[in-house]
Each structure stands twice: as C-alpha cells, then as structure tokens.
Amino acid sequence: MKFKRLVASVVMGALFSGAAWAQVKVGVVSSSTGPVAMVGIPQKNSVPLMPTKVGNLTVQYIPLDDGSDPTASVVAIKKLISEENVDAIIGPSGSPNAMGVIQFAAEAGVPLLAPVGTAAVVLPMDDKKKWVFKTTQNDQLIADALVGHMAKTGIKTVGFIGTSDPYGENWAKVFTESAGRKGIKVVATERFQRSDSSVTAQGLKVLMAKPDAVLIAAPGTPAVLPQITLYDQGYRGKVYQTHGAALPEFLKLGGKKVEGTVLAASLMLVLDQISDSHPSKKIALDYVNAYEKLNGSKPATFGGNVFDAGLLLKNAIPHAAAKGKPGTPAFRAALRDALEQTKDMPATQGVYNMTAADHSGFDERGRELIAVKDGKWTLIQ
C-alpha cells in the first residue's frame, strides 16, 4: 500500500512538474544518432549533470535528438519553441545544423547556446546571430596557437589535409590566413571524406610538396586516418592536429603512429598536468568525475561544451529573473542580455568573457598546447 502511494505520488509529481510555476525550461538538441553521434552522445550524457536549481528557480531540461539531420534540428527547435515554450536552447551538435536553426531561434527571441565548431554561427555578428552564443573555442584561437608553435620551431612550409565539410573548409581558410601573417606557406591543400577507406592519394600529393609539417583538420576520430597514412608512406616530420582530434580515442586508434603529434585544445585533455591556479581546473575536474561516475567513461570535450552552456545559463538566469517571469518574452530577452554580459566566468573549457561583438568569449586560457608523448597527452610548457 505504502509502495502504491509512493508510485502514485511520483507519477503525479512527474505529471504536474511540467506545469509548475517559476521554472526555467531549457531545450537541448543533440545529434545522439547519425554521423555526428560521436559528438552528440557525450553532449546528451552531460545533460543530467547540469544545474537543475538556480536561486529559487528550478531548471528543466528537455533533450531531443536530431539524428544529425539539419532538417530534423529545425523541427526540434520549432517544437521546443512552440510546444514547450522554452526560455533557452542548447544545441544542436553539428555546424550545418546550427546554421540552419539560427533564424528560427532569432525570430522567436530564444537565446541559442551552440556547442558547435564553426565560428560562422557568431561571426560576423548581425541581428539574428546576436541570439547565438558559442561554447567552443573559435578556430582562430586554436590556429593562432598552432601557428605560434610552428613559427617558434622554425617551420616554414605546411601541408594541409582537411575534411570536405564546414569544419575542414573553415580551418583551411582560418589557418591559411593565420599562417600567412607569420610568413608560413601552405604548400598543399587536400580534402578527404570522413567515410573514406583510403587517403593514400591525398597523402602522396602532400608529400610531393615536401612540407616541413602537416596539419590535419578533421572532427573526431577521422583525423587519425590521414596521419597513419602519412606515417606508412614514410613521413616522419611534425604533424599538427586541431582541437577536433582531442579525444581519448585518437590515441587508441593511432597508437605508436601518432607519437609526437602537436595540437591545441581545451585543458580537459591534460587536467592532471594543469597548475591548480588555473580557474577552470576544479570545474573541469568535477565535471569529468561526475560524468565518469554516471556514464562509466570519460567525456569527450564535446560534452564539456554543452556543460558550459548550462553554467553560462546558471550565471545569467538570476539577472534575467529580476526582469521577468520565466516563459515570457521579457525573460528571454533579459536572459540574452545577461548572457552577453558574462564576465570572467570560469567553466570547463576556459574562461568566458562575452561582449556584444564576441559571443564565444574565449581568451588564451581556453586553449593549451598539447603533444602526444609516450602514448599520452602531455602539456607543452
């Protein structure tokens, strides 16, 4: 009898919690299935770790999967806005997906926190993109770090191999500009597909140009194949990777053949080597431990990007609550303004300093130079 009553109260609670007052609703759209699933799964798994209580307001998260399909992202966003009347949206996982939903979020006046790679969602800033905040490091920030390392180690020519998707395209553009400023020449630019079973031809083309170093720009584990191919073709020079390769699986798949790789990424890969004075260390460590306890494995950086979105909201919600009730346009507009005012807020990926012009807000505390040494990520001091 007691049990029955308990079940009844839990069910009633679940039914009525949706209608509870003074509650902030946040939609989370991730690609936990489909080709971008490796990005979306840690994002989805991070949702239960995000703050559920801010001041005297409760925060309810409504996770949806878009199957990596940009059209499905738009449907999900529209559903969250019109049916759930959400106050903010976190997602979607993929760059093309995010580009497609910006106008709908802007029209409805809902802040969108996009954990995507491409800077195009916040740059150049305009009337629509002012509703978007990006919780990943801009490619520019990472590229500058890599180019800095190249210049310091005397590298003059670089070969580039990137994926033929927005990630690789943007990297080709950003990196070529950044390298040009330091007098480093990009002598070969090659593309490959995530699903390719061989990049032998691209590797040969790059090696023919005899570069001092090679940069590989691919999101996730596809970054491994070109590097292994180059190694098998006898290339023993320096290989650089982007933050897209910053995953534990990169080491597992690459093994001995990715030894010596240099990349720049958030501190999450080398937490134990970061000095305790870094403002992000404790937050990132707590997040990683909580994630591991819940899911049994360490999170990829992508999960941290979504978790940070939760922290940004937590920081902004009290300011917005002073100006309006959750669920109203006034609250959402105030929430956007508050997000834009974020100052010196440490999170798992670095320290956020938003301005009207910069909706990503990272500085050099958001990236570390990391090398693969003895099969482990090692901080370059």
Binding site: A37, S198, Q202, K205, P222, L247, L253
Partner: protein
C-alpha cells in the same frame, strides 16, 4: 605525375577495387536470385569489422544478442507452423539452427579467452556471429514478400538498412575502430612498397571469386541458384525451393559482406555507418555490369577503385562527385545499347 606515384595510386585503387568487386558480386547475386536490391549489404561490412574489433578488445560482441534475438524470432515464425502440422522433426531442425546455434556460440564466447586467441580464430568467430544474420534476415524480412514488385522490395531494403544502421550505433557506439593488420610484411618491388595487407585483400578477393565460380559451375546448390536467377518459375517447377535459394543467397551475401569488413578493418577506421558508402560504390560497379553480369561488375569495381584513387589525387574535394557521376554515362550507354526486358510481375 611521376611514375612511382602513379604506381602507388594504381595499387591503392586495386586494394579498394578488390573490396568493391566482392560487394558488387554479392549485390548482383542477390538481385539475380531474389530481385532484391540489397542496400543493407554495407551494414554487414561494418558489423563484420566491428564485431572482430570487439572480439579483439576481449569483450563478447553485442551483435551476438542480435543473432540470438533473430534466432528466437525465426523459431517462432517457422516453429509454430511446424508444430501445428505435427512435424516435430522440422521443429527440431529450426530450433537447432536458430536457437541452439546462437546460444551455443554465446556459451563458447563466454568461455574462450577472446583477446589471446590467434587472429584467424577471432575472424572465424566474428564471421560465425555475423553471417547467419543473412539467412535469418531473409526469412523474417524478405521471404514473406518474396513475390512483391521490385519497388516494394527496394523500399523494404531501405527500411532494413536504416534499422541495421540504428542498431549498429546501439551495438558499437559512435566511435570508429581499427584492427591490427593480418601481416606487417612489406613486399619491396623496386619503386613500389606493397604492404602485406594489400596482398591479403587481393589474394582473398581472388580466391573468393574463383571459389564462387566453382560453386556456381560445379555444385548442385550453385546450379540451383543459377537456375533460380534465370527463371524463377521454371526453377520452382523443377523442385528448387525459392525460400532455400533466397536463404542461401543471403548467406553468401552476408558472408561476403562480413569478410570484406574484416579485410578493410586494418587499413581504415570503420564506423557503425561506414559500410553504406562502401557498398554504394560496389553498387556503382554492379550497375556498370547491368546488375546481371559478374565479370563486368568485377571490372567495374576495379574501374571505380582506380577512378577514386586518381580523383583523390587530382581533385580530392570532388572525389565522391566524380565517382558517383560515373553512373550517369554508364546508364545512358546501357539504356541506348541494350534492349529492354520488362520485369514480369
């Protein structure tokens, strides 16, 4: 272009082409016998490769539970009518293949020290898990609609493909896997260094093609399949069971698919959804052969492999566009040069 580089590109094209050839043969075979355009062919590639990777990681592959689940379903579908008809012998046969075999395999896998087994044994186990799904799939998905029009079979194939990709994500996760090479040896031919894995792929593909040829030319079952492919009604009148022909075909298709997966796993990173694109290129090759000719399909596969390799060299950003655009002139040429045979419905 320098000569050694051209040679390396040719070699790369042959390696990929050999895999496409195997898949093209399987697609032609399935279409000829059952009129099914077998889109899930690629999923067997991914299942084979990733099941092997799981075995090598020392875990019991999750695909095993799919095998058990399909087995239970087939037993229910086939066993109940056999029981009603009072044929306990048949029931025993059905249950033996579909219940006892997967459960026995599960028991075997839980006992064996998977990680330390020789590589060939691991491959055999991976095939033993994945290949029986072919005939099971035919029984559950295609046999009930065996006489439906080609279009319906195609739509069902798309559904089966999407289901298998979804289950693949569930079984293997989103991250890709690689397996160690079968051979680290490198054959030094002057300017050309041929990795052992390439030799293994080409050798296995050739062996399999010859074996298939022998099977179709010399064995009773092979001849039965050929007869069904030529004339379904006639073959049935001669006492060839269409459902047996279907299951046998799907067994071969699943075997070829899983073996291709095992072969490419050491040279590339295989994801749960990698198979589709590989099989699609096999399909382009099969189209070059008009979905009817085995030698033309194999030649087409080599052509696709070379085209892919050289277009990656010259214009890597447009590689897929170039490979898939090839299908247009081929279709044009075929529709102008061959007389139309309308499928009898």
């Amino acid at each position: 272009m320098e000569f050694p580089i051209a040679l390396m590109l040719v070699q790369d094209g042959i390696t990929n082409g050999a895999i496409y050839a195997l898949l093209a043969l399987a697609l032609v075979l399935v279409f000829a016998v059952t009129r099914v355009i077998f889109i899930p062919q690629g999923e067997f590639v991914a299942y084979g490769a990733l099941t092997l990777a799981m075995l090598q990681a020392g875990t019991v592959p999750t695909t095993l539970w799919l095998l058990v689940g399909l087995g239970v379903a087939v037993t229910a579908v086939d066993g109940v009518p056999a029981l009603r008809a009072g044929r306990p012998g048949r029931l025993l046969g059905v249950a033996g293949w579909n219940l006892a075999y997967p459960l026995g395999l599960a028991a075997l896998l839980s006992i064996l020290p998977l990680q330390s087994l020789p590589q060939l044994a691991q491959v055999a186990l991976a095939l033993a898990i994945v290949v029986p799904m072919g005939p099971q799939m035919y029984r559950l998905v295609y046999q009930p609609i065996a006489s439906a029009p080609i279009l319906i079979l195609l739509i069902v194939s798309v559904a089966a493909h999407l289901t298998m990709v979804g289950m693949g994500l569930l079984f293997f996760g989103a991250e890709g896997q690689r397996t160690p090479a079968f051979s680290d040896a490198v054959l030094d031919l002057g300017p050309l260094m041929v990795p052992g894995q390439t030799l293994v792929i080409v050798a296995v593909s050739l062996t399999l093609i010859v074996a298939l040829f022998q099977f179709f030319e010399r064995t009773l079952y092979g001849k039965a399949l050929r007869a069904t492919a030529m004339n379904r009604v006639g073959a049935r009148l001669m006492g060839i069971s269409p459902s047996l022909a279907g299951k046998l075909t799907f067994f071969l298709a699943a075997f070829i698919g899983a073996l291709s997966g095992v072969l490419i796993a050491p040279i590339t990173t295989v994801y749960y959804d990698t198979g589709f694109l590989i099989a699609l290129k096999g399909f382009v090759a099969a189209i070059i052969g008009g979905l009817g000719s085995y030698p033309l399909a194999a030649l087409g596969a080599l052509l696709v492999g070379q085209l892919e390799s050289f277009s990656s060299f010259w214009a890597s950003a447009y590689k897929e566009v170039i490979v898939f655009t090839l299908i247009i002139p081929v279709l044009l040429w075929r529709s102008l040069n061959s007389r139309h045979v309308e499928e009898e419905e």
